[in-house]
Homo-oligomer: 185 residues x 2
DNA sequence: AGTGTTCCGGAAGCACGTTCCGCTTCCGCG
DNA sequence: CGCGGAAGCGGAACGTGCTTCCGGAACACT
């Protein structure tokens, strides 16, 4: 029942290379980029992609989770390096940048593919604690108002970043900045 | 430069049959239904589909425009048959039903396909005049408040109908009804 | 009816996701 | 160090869907 054998070194190396390659390819060519392109970029065959990620959507989901992690993990260092209000400010800016690269992904989330079913919960599980910590600290320091929850704030910013007709990505940044100003007391 | 020849009767018949078949197939199987299914339903070969609609997305766009027309054209009869407030009421209910069938289409609109580029403008060009007429009449009759524009109302209702996690289509209907109640003075 | 044009059907071509299996590489052991 | 077998790899092959192509049928005009 226990692990009878270690994971082979080349397998782990390829898995990591695939995640990195997929991140780059999806960023340049969109989430609809062919699996073969990802395989080529990672320097492996398509069979290897499917060994590690049985479905194309599993690969997309893995990239998404990886980016969620990177964004959520950015919170503690910011909290350590800056005052409560500025840390909150900087993290939200980071969060907006994260959202900015997710235009095509929102559509994928509602595509009904089971691989994406767990993502909204993962999103919440990683971001809510991260933001709650920053927000509580800022509230405790008396630097921001205390009647806005982390959930409220996440949803509000996410909605602000929804693509609307004829507005560029910097519109989202500006509106989010206005929102954050509104938090200050 | 003038029309050298009439359009062939079978060509027009096929074109119409395709639009109708596509409407039905997309309604049953979603906008991602195969082109072959549409061709089969219309009783023609796939070549004929591509003669009339060079790209798959052109067919989708044509169905969309056709439905926009049907909804917008419903306004004048309602205005003639009912009092200003009730006509407005009934037309907005019709509009909500129109939106309810567009879940998959919102994603397609943001897919970057050039065939969809003109659709938002068409949406506005058809719906704004239709709603403006109804709204102006109701305002003139003193039956609804005068500080909400047709554009505001269209956008508000459209946003209410956006799919949110775990809410059904009747949620949209209820929220829209609440909104309309708020219009009454 | 004759004739030149338009239109039709569906097979063929292509792109992409996914599967399959023979070959290679790595790990643990003697 | 060398060996055996399991784990992993590559990429040809398959299924499905969109799009193109062209020989022949259908149509409009005379």
């Amino acid at each position: 029942m226990s692990t009878p054998r270690r994971v082979r070194a080349d397998a782990r190396r390829n898995s990591d290379a695939l995640l990195e390659a997929a991140t780059e390819v999806f960023a340049t060519a969109g989430v609809d980029a062919p699996v073969r392109d990802v395989a080529a970029r990672a320097g492996v065959g398509v069979g290897t992609v499917y060994r590690h990620y049985p479905k194309r959507s599993d690969l997309v989901a893995a990239v998404f989770r990886h980016q969620v992690d990177a964004c959520a993990d950015a919170a503690p260092p910011l909290a350590a390096a800056y005052g409560p209000a500025e840390a909150l400010d900087r993290w939200l800016a980071r969060f907006v940048d994260f959202l900015a690269t997710k235009r095509g992904l929102a559509a994928a989330l509602h595509s009904g593919d089971p691989a994406f079913d767990a993502l909204p919960a993962y999103f919440d599980a990683r971001f809510r604690p991260a933001l709650t910590t920053l927000l509580d600290a800022a509230v405790a320091a008396g630097e921001v108002r205390d009647d806005v929850s982390a959930t409220d704030l996440l949803h509000a910013v996410a909605h602000l970043c929804l693509p609307a007709d004829g507005v560029g990505p910097d519109h989202a940044r500006r509106m989010a900045a206005v929102l954050v100003d509104g938090l200050r007391r």
